[in-house]
Amino acid sequence: MSVSAPTRPTRDPVLLAPISWRTPIIMTVLAALALFGFALFTPAGLESTIELTGASAAWQLPDLVIGSRAAALALVLVAFALAGLSFWTAQNRRRSMAVPVVFGICLVFAFLIWAVAGNASGLPLPFLLSTAMTAALPLIFGAFAGLLCERSGVINIAIEGQLLAGAFLTAVLATVAGNAYVGLIAAPVGGALVGLILAVFSIKYRVDQIIVGVVVNVLVLGLTSYLFSTVLSDDPLRLNNPPQLPALRIPLLADIPVVGEALFNQNIIVYAMYAAVVALHIGLFRSRWGLRVRAVGEHPKAADTVGIDVNRTRYRNVVFGSAVAGFGGASMVAAGLAFTKEVTEGRGYIALAAMILGRWSPTGALAAALLFGFADSLNRVLNNIGSPVPYEILAMLPYLATIFAVAGLVGRVRPPAGAGKAYPS
């Protein structure tokens, strides 16, 4: 029959959404801010020094020394050009991730060059990236935990508590056993136990997931703080003095200039994270497990009608995801640091933001968490070498970035449709 219903999606030319000028406009404004905020005011005649290789690298590159004013201005001009390019891509309805990313890198470098202008010690770039990785680790695992839970339909606000529990158990057990790796085994157990509370109340008793999550966070914070000030403080040397997790240097790869140290001279948690990204990405989007998890998170009833046990899937994912967060918590004491009250400092919530910014995908969450980690590390490094910007302003940057991220400035975000709603068993 010639007029039967179309069986393929038909794209109606009139149905095109209006062009969104948001990204190019934001980019232009940011570039203008950079130009008038600092680039124009870079004192002439000063030079910026940037270290390119770390101390342990086999081939040492000489430090990069450039004229501050010229370099900063040049980078900002490139940023303007990229903003212009972005107008063109928007006009042609193309979507490009590369343009905003390169744009961001240009502005960050312009800022760094200005910030270290005339500074004798220079900017230790490999160290900056290396600490960025360390700062990002709890966020990465936290974001993975968040997306593992939320892809199955349970919103995990309790990442904070899971990180905290993981860090606490790692510190205590690693100290008692005198072995840092024992702590790594204990960490996921701590996270999973916290996750079990979340799972039981939100899945079995169908309490609002956000409320349970917040309550669990407060509970874990109270419990670990109490144990810290009583038990741990009594004998910190025997209970809260975890050995450092050694860095495992991968020869050759770690010698790559600029990024080698950050990527390949790290402890085992970082390498575990590489494996986790790959495993989660393939697992969620290619495997049977992932298809079922996503089905449960998108449309639980549909999953139920094809014989998938919705609540069992959710239990498994919440406990597993929470264990992942707990493992991430270990990274906060992995450098041989003692556990302190609220050692997480709200990183669980930032991890949640990284998950949203990364659009519930492991690679996206990784990128977002690295961005937050970089901002965190940047303000520490600049503070150390002495920067013209007040420390407090810099310290706010990651959180400012978070608000924009969560407000959806990065484009249309679509959470799993079934997230946040309990499924009757």
């Binding site: 219903a5 069986t7 049977r288 298809l291 999953a303 139920d304 009608t305 998938i308």
Partner: protein, 522 residues
């Protein structure tokens, strides 16, 4: 495989949804379950599919008793179901939806997508479907989504296929294609359970008919029985199948809509350049498949949505740009599409719901104080006039049946002088008695000289109350035709075919249902 239900009883609290049901489904037969909305058909099928556990009774397959702990068990036993609300995941592809739950996997549990695609293509080819395995469900029209549901069931070798109200979202031509598919499946030995309340379809396709009323099997019927006979069996009394109404007598009042366009949340147009006029004393019905901009059109009329272009004038006054409150005060009565979500506050009493749009105005309020006595008295009068069956007007409106809830909405909207009446899906989910009542009330409003706009996806409803019919497709009006236009023509227009072409096409390719209709003088 023969599937048998023996003495199935299912209770929800004090309500007996299924009362000792005995039924047998034979291979190679299309068995229609005919019953009104709320008769208990869907409950029974959910029991059969393992979604509910029966309180009493047994399910037997080929004479052997079986117990289902969940849909998984039912599927393993060879029962497939196409739900009224599709159980498809919108962001997944066709292939992913089809294999979900029984995925072909390689090492490490990686899904064999190529095998999944092949499976979809094989089944599509067998039944002449044209379905792209890689299309995302949310991009597909509902008719195709339904085929995906059928493919899903067949991919699990369903021997018994349950179709729950499958034609509710289809155009007559799509229904026709579905009927063809059902016959094909029957001929290949599948037992088909066809749940519906549409008499015409039952007569077109069923091999045997079981009628269910108030949770009980009340009898069997033959497809050769007349529609009137089936209707009286289904409802339990004689019913008139149409609405008695005289010819429209248009007066000078009018609603004029010109060049109206509306964008949705992401900025794509949902109503495009729509123009029409309704005179006082006539009913314009807007027909179309769900989701073609009709609901949005109704919402714009009330001011719930903003239009990007166009005008809406009621007796010369511009309504566009006015607040909902101003529109209501201008004399617009509005019955929303989803009464439980937008029409009523379910935990509020009948009185509170009745005064909901006027509580701050005379005579229901004097200054800041509500006049509770006035509200009580007016509500009591309206409940009487609209035949709302309730024990007390102080009861929460949620304790009423769907039909009585809708009467409360109508009572509220029609109890003040109207200059325009708009109703979206006024009889969705109602029993036949309530439908008759609602239709009579709408016609009475028309006869009082009010312009009436009815949005409905039910062709039967459109044909029985409209004086003129506008068909919408993808936000545009395909054409406005007179009452009594052939349903095949309307069906083609619902798929976007312009009226003249549709008339020609309908003559050349009449649907199976059309032939059934022809057997009986109406």
């Amino acid at each position: 495989m023969t599937l048998e239900l023996r003495g199935i009883t299912k209770r929800f609290g004090s309500l007996v949804a299924n009362d000792r049901i005995d039924l047998t489904f034979e291979p190679g037969r299309i068995h229609a379950l005919l019953g009104e909305n709320g008769a208990g058909k869907s409950t029974m099928m959910n029991v059969l599919y393992g979604l509910y556990t029966p309180d009493e009774g047994q399910i037997l397959i080929d004479g052997e008793p079986v117990t289902f702990h969940g849909p998984g068990d039912a599927m393993a036993a060879g029962i497939g179901m196409v739900h009224q609300h599709f159980m498809l995941i919108p962001v997944f592809t066709v292939a992913e939806n089809v294999v979900l739950g029984h995925e072909p996997t390689g090492p490490l549990g990686i899904i064999g997508l190529e095998q999944a695609r092949t499976l979809v293509r094989e089944i599509s080819a067998r039944f002449g479907f044209d379905v792209d395995p890689d299309a995302k469900i949310e991009d597909l029209p509902v008719g195709v989504q339904q085929r995906v549901e059928i493919i899903k069931a067949l991919s699990r070798d369903a021997k018994v296929l349950i179709l729950d109200e499958p034609t509710a979202v289809l155009t007559p031509q799509e229904t026709d294609e579905l009927i063809e598919i059902m016959r094909q499946l029957r001929d290949s030995g599948t037992a088909i359970v066809f749940i519906t309340h549409k008499l015409r379809e039952v007569r077109a396709v069923a091999d045997e008919i079981t009628v269910i009323r108030r949770g009980k099997v009340v009898g069997t019927a033959s497809p050769t029985d007349s529609q009137a006979e089936l209707a009286s069996l289904m409802v339990g009394r004689d019913v008139s199948l149409g609405v008695e109404k005289g010819p429209a007598e248009p007066n000078e009042q009018a609603l004029e809509v010109a060049g109206l366009s509306v964008l949705d949340a992401v900025g794509s147009p949902v109503v495009r350049d729509v123009s029409f006029t309704i005179r006082g004393g006539e009913v314009l019905a807007v027909a179309g498949v769900q989701g073609n901009g009709q609901s949005e059109l109704a919402e714009v009329l009330l001011g719930l949505r903003k239009a990007t272009a166009g005008s809406i004038t009621l007796d010369g006054t511009e309504l566009l740009g006015k607040s909902v409150d101003q529109v209501l005060r201008a004399g617009v009565g509005f019955v929303p599409e989803d009464r439980s979500k937008d029409g009523l506050i379910s935990s509020f009493s009948i009185i509170e719901n009745f005064v909901l749009d006027q509580y701050a105005q005379e005579p229901y309020a004097k200054g800041p104080a509500m006049q509770l006595g006035v509200g009580r008295q007016k509500t009591a009068e309206a409940v009487e006039a609209f035949d709302v069956r309730t024990t007390s007007i102080d009861d929460p409106v949620s304790t009423l049946s769907g039909g009585n809830q809708q009467k409360v909405v109508l009572a509220r909207e029609m109890s003040r002088p109207l200059r325009l009446f708009v109703a979206s899906q006024p009889t969705r989910g109602l029993d036949v008695g309530s439908i008759e009542f609602v239709h009579q009330r709408i016609i009475a409003e028309r006869d009082a000289g009010t312009p009436v706009l009815i949005v409905s996806t039910e062709l039967d409803e459109v044909l029985s109350i409209a004086d003129r019919i506008a068909v919408m497709y993808r936000g545009s009006i395909v054409g406005i035709v007179e009452a009594g236009t052939d349903r095949d023509v309307l069906g083609l227009m619902m798929a976007g075919v312009p009226p003249e072409e549709a008339r020609q096409e309908a003559v050349e390719h009449p649907t199976a249902m059309h032939e059934v209709e022809g057997e009986e003088p109406s």
